[in-house]
């Protein structure tokens, strides 16, 4: 069996919609509107190994959800090929459904008025699991996801954090080999986010479940995913280990200068160095390493300021990702 759980080759998805022409009258626009075509996903190729944890990131409208929907068989690709666990989602949608789990952060699939156990049982029956196995798996998930305190509460009475844990648990009832998550931490507080990330790491470690996740939350990417694919305008602009993300895109360094006494003057800085923040105790500058080296910057800064301590560091992941998006826009 192939070591890849997902292989995508030259995948493209186009959407067409009618567009109003401002120079035409409303009658013409009503009966013969212009049709515009947008390419949501443009000839992308990538593969994912069994048990890998992938972040699939990009700004709004980049093509993330469209890609995930094609991977799961919800949308039909315009062209290209998808192979998930040996299945083609366009032809083997039902067979594939037995092997994958999905969580859409903005959507619930639970029965709102019934206790959570009923929803878990419902999905167990849907996946043709025998009654004994369903009970055993529910007990496992209650323990794994710490659902015990609210398992008998109607779903509509759960907090958002509890509900998201329940959503992920229900998507795992049939022990899928891959779980695809679209914005799973959307709207969650920091505690609920951490709890959900820990749980996903746990199922990845314990059940070797491949995790394919889209998120705008840097914490999800940093703490959960070993590899990041960046997509924008439907094109993959980077595919690399998450820990290399900052290094690869870094053309800025940050330097903190701690005042020996107080900083009283804030002189104009040499080209390639800019203030990020300045007060009498601490100055932070950003240096553009395409224009000036770290060594030269430090020399010039030490000529300008009397400092007690210096700290040189890379931008955090959030800043790096923001730069990537801004550059790609």
């Amino acid at each position: 069996m192939s070591s890849n759980s997902i292989t995508v080759s030259n995948l493209t998805k186009k959407f067409s919609f009618s567009q109003k022409n401002p120079s035409s009258g409303w009658l013409k626009n009503l009966f013969s509107p212009e049709t515009k075509e947008i390419i949501a996903v443009d000839d992308i190729s990538f593969s994912v190994k069994n048990g890998e944890r992938i972040a699939f990131i990009g700004p709004n409208g980049a093509g993330k959800s469209t890609t995930i929907k094609m991977l799961t068989g919800i949308l039909f690709p315009t062209s290209g090929k998808i192979d998930i666990l040996g299945f083609d989602p366009t032809k083997d949608r039902k067979k594939l459904a037995y092997q994958i789990g999905t969580v859409f952060g903005q959507r619930s699939q639970l029965l709102p008025n019934l206790p959570l156990t009923d929803s878990l049982e419902f999905f167990g029956v849907m996946y043709d699991m025998p009654e004994k196995e369903i009970k055993k798996r529910i007990a496992e998930l209650i323990k794994l996801f710490d659902l015990g305190s609210f398992i008998n509460q109607p779903v509509r009475k759960l907090s958002l954090g509890q509900r998201m844990r329940a959503e992920v648990a229900s998507s795992l009832i049939h022990k899928p080999k891959i779980i695809l998550l679209d914005e799973p931490t959307i709207g969650l507080d920091v505690v609920a986010k951490k709890s959900l990330r820990d749980l996903l790491l746990k199922i990845n470690n314990e059940e070797n479940t491949t995790i394919f996740l889209t998120s705008h939350d840097v914490g999800d990417i940093e703490s959960l995913c070993e590899r990041t694919i960046v997509i924008n305008h439907g094109i993959i602009i980077k595919d690399l280990p998450t820990q290399n993300l900052a290094k690869t895109f870094i053309y800025e360094k940050y330097i903190d200068l701690i005042a020996l006494n107080n900083f009283n003057n804030f002189p104009k800085l040499p080209e390639g160095i800019n203030y990020s923040s300045k007060d009498k105790n601490k100055i932070t500058v950003i240096i553009d390493i395409n224009k000036i080296t770290v060594q030269k910057s430090l020399k010039k800064l030490l000529d300008l300021f009397e400092v007690e301590d210096i700290d040189v560091y890379n931008a955090d992941l959030e800043t790096v990702i923001r730069h990537i998006y801004e550059k790609a826009l």
Partner: protein
């Protein structure tokens, strides 16, 4: 297929339990619809009593007609209410969850929602049929015909609902258009059967199959007509196959969307 049907029944059971959790709303809806139907049939009976027999139809036939209509409406709008919600599902993107299910897409969609008030229609339909059987002193053969035509009528009703609501896959906000088409099909079905003669009868049998769910079955039972039984059965099979083809083709047009949704 047995697995699919067994899951469909399980899904309907869960839907009923889900609705029954809200007890007051559950019971009020059922009783409300039952009373509404009684008011409706009373009007028809008074009408027939005033104008007399039209096209061979009596007040007793109207009871049977309303029984069929109520049972069709009741079964499809309760157990198969997901079909009626297709426009909502497709415009909000909620249809995604059925695409992710390992079950037959049409059955999974149909049994995904439940309209409680339609249970009132089912109760009303059963009461009408019992009254009809009592009034005509129905033979065993006629009782069997009633049972057979109930299934056939529900099948035609469901097929037409599938065809009409499948337009939801072709354009956004199809709810009002689908409802209008549905009214076009459903309203003539509730009318006095004797009113449909000649061209009108042809149109509402072969083009818009409204008469297949009530008028023609009532006449077939009354006349114990094998000819009508055969015609209705053939047309029912045709509409059933056609509806599945239309649905499967329409699904390919689904484009999803990203609204917030909640449900099973």
């Amino acid at each position: 297929m047995l697995k699919e049907l067994s899951f469909a029944l399980y899904s309907i059971k869960k839907n009923i339990q889900n609705s029954a959790e809200l007890r007051t709303s559950f019971l009020t809806n059922i009783i409300g619809m039952f009373i509404n139907n009684i008011a409706f049939i009373t009007l028809w009976i008074f009408f027939v009593k005033s104008v007399g027999i039209i096209g061979g139809w009596t007040a007793v036939d109207i009871i049977c007609l309303q029984g069929f209509i109520a049972l069709c409406f009741g079964f499809v709008f309760s157990a198969g209410y997901g079909i009626i919600k297709l426009a909502d599902y497709t415009s909000s993107g909620a249809f995604d969850r059925f695409m992710l299910s390992p079950k037959n897409l049409l059955i999974r969609t149909a049994t995904s929602a439940f309209n409680v008030s339609a249970l009132g229609d089912i109760v009303f339909g059963i009461v009408c049929m019992c009254i009809y059987i009592f009034l005509i002193h129905a033979s065993i053969y006629q009782i069997l015909l009633i049972l057979f035509f109930t299934m056939i009528s529900i099948s035609v009703f469901l097929s037409i609902a599938i065809i009409i609501y499948s337009i939801s896959f072709f354009f956004i906000d199809a709810n009002s258009v689908a409802s209008s088409f549905f009214e076009l099909f459903f309203t003539p079905a509730m009318f006095h059967g004797g009113a449909f003669q000649g061209v009108m009868r042809f149109i509402f049998t072969f083009i818009i199959p409204s008469l297949l769910i009530g008028t023609l079955p009532v006449e077939a039972i009354k006349d114990v007509s094998l000819e009508k039984l055969l015609l209705i059965s053939i047309l029912a099979v045709f509409w059933f196959i056609f509806s599945i083809i239309i649905f499967n083709q329409a699904v390919k047009k689904y484009e999803s969307s990203n609204f917030m949704t909640f449900g099973n």
